[in-house]
Symmetry: C2
Subunit: 312 residues, 2 copies
């Protein structure tokens, strides 16, 4: 049985759907209600910051996929103590539960875009310096270290994936993250898109289906060495390039408003995923232009029935 | 005014005495009572985990030296969540107070012996991988990152000293750390000394007076670049060598009992302090043999009136 935390978020819900399709026994635990339930998936509501080691949530679990976070980079900056307290508490309770209940596999969704801070060079590698620009990144890094510690000391098979910027249809319903979905949505609704800074910031975007394959490959191979792995496209795209790409694909001009850059934002980053590729054979298969085009088609065919939470 | 947290511990009380000698205005804040008060030093009792930004403890402060910790490596392993919660909360409250009250200088006592974990090579440098073997080291590392973040984003002048293993007279009264003081004390009392493992573990011991000079130099030079700096002797000594050294100096045989090695203990580490030396001119001046000999003389002349907290 795989326990998925954060299984109602963008990546989590896509992952749970894909696990259900392969008939993998999966239990989703989340603070939220589970309105949309999939067949063959168990759902549990619990505050993981208060998870008890004896909780039935952990019964029959042999693998934990830990995607949940109480913050995003900008909210972590607004309240670093809450960010640390909640996310570290939650992660340590899961790790401690894994240790005490003999749950061997622990897959942690870390953040390739924040743990490094401003890279010394790009593409960034796992061994490069980690100097986060946000409390969010510091806590992701600390949790990676706890996963490493429990692996070294307590025999956990712990893997931290430093994920870059996945995009996909599910982002139309989620938190105010996911710039590609937001751009397409602005094109769809003909509303103004806010850029923090001058649009020169560069990120590593890849399709969520490629990320799902990374999870599935990792789950299927118990021989992957414990440690941290970059998972991204390995290609940088600036925000301005992204705006131009969306304008080309949608044939609609995007109204852009430029605002002051934010402190939490790294300027330029993309990831070298060679280590993960060497360990698993994984590589991204969906080119950015193709992914964005198919996402636009999806949006035209199935407009979201509730609008995304947006900032600015 | 310099605010010293943890000013009643071994390093803290030595630092406060040395600051008082140079007539530097200093305030000691600690959970404990302040029975032994020095003239010209202010004392305040407060729980820093609940420090309010408006607290009078912070009045007139321009520099914070953050030495306090609620844990040592072994106790952090027993309760990682408490270790994280208390030490991160305390450190973030101090940093946030510094930001909001315009306190510019922040000197954090990090841990050269735990943030690296098992070094790839020795002497270890600041840019080497950091894979702690204890929750204590993970939290020290996270606090370093917060100090770095507040420096980059909020203009703090933050310095983290990754200190190796200081020894000195004050350890006879302190927590159950400080192997040199414990060895001398066992020689003095003719009691059995417990070694975790086979005695081959190697550490970087240096005299607390050399550490105090490192603090004073750092305080005196506002031009030192924000960042992390190793501070140690740059020389490794095994526990068995230390036992032999103490036997030679004291002319007394030490009774040793060997116990199983502890999970939290790194096997071999010593620090390359070249970065700190280049920045400040500091280098350790007291050879280990001389330091241990003078400490033994001190012990013979002024036997501690209360016995040290000891384990095993």
């Amino acid at each position: 049985m795989i326990l998925v935390t954060g299984g109602t978020g963008f990546v989590g819900s896509a992952l749970v759907r894909s696990l259900a399709r392969t008939a993998t026994p999966v239990r989703v635990v989340s603070l939220r209600d589970h309105a949309a339930r999939l067949p063959n998936v168990e759902y549990a509501s619990a505050d993981l910051c208060e998870l008890d080691v004896d909780s039935a949530v952990l019964d029959s679990v042999d693998t934990i996929i830990h995607l949940a976070s109480t913050t995003i980079p900008s909210t972590s900056m607004a309240d670093p103590a809450f960010d640390a307290r909640s996310n570290i508490e939650m992660s340590l309770r899961l790790l401690e539960a894994a240790r005490r209940r003999g749950i061997r596999n622990f897959l942690f969704a870390s953040s390739g875009g924040t743990v490094y801070g401003d890279p010394v060079s790009v593409p960034v590698r796992e061994s490069d310096p980690t100097e986060p620009r946000s409390p969010y990144g510091i806590v992701k890094l600390a949790v990676e270290k706890y996963v490493g510690l429990y692996s070294r000391i307590h025999g956990l098979h712990g893997i931290s994936l430093r994920i870059s910027n996945p995009y996909g249809y599910g982002q139309f319903f989620g938190a105010p993250i996911g710039v590609i979905a937001r751009l397409l949505h602005h094109a769809f609704e003909n509303t103004t898109f806010t850029v923090w800074g001058d649009g020169s910031v560069v990120r590593d975007y890849f399709h969520v289906d490629d990320l799902l394959r990374a999870f599935h490959i990792t789950l299927a191979d118990p021989g992957i060495r414990t440690g941290v792995y970059n998972v991204g496209a390995g290609r940088g795209t600036s925000l301005n390039e992204l705006v131009a790409l969306v304008e080309r694909i949608t044939s609609r001009p995007i109204k852009v408003r430029y605002e002051a850059a934010r402190e939490v934002d790294v300027h330029t980053i993309w990831l070298d995923s060679t280590k993960f590729r060497s360990a698993t054979g994984w590589k991204p298969s969906i080119a950015l232009e193709d992914g964005v085009r198919s996402l636009w088609q999806e949006l035209l065919q199935k407009p979201p029935t509730r609008s995304p939470a947006q900032r600015g």
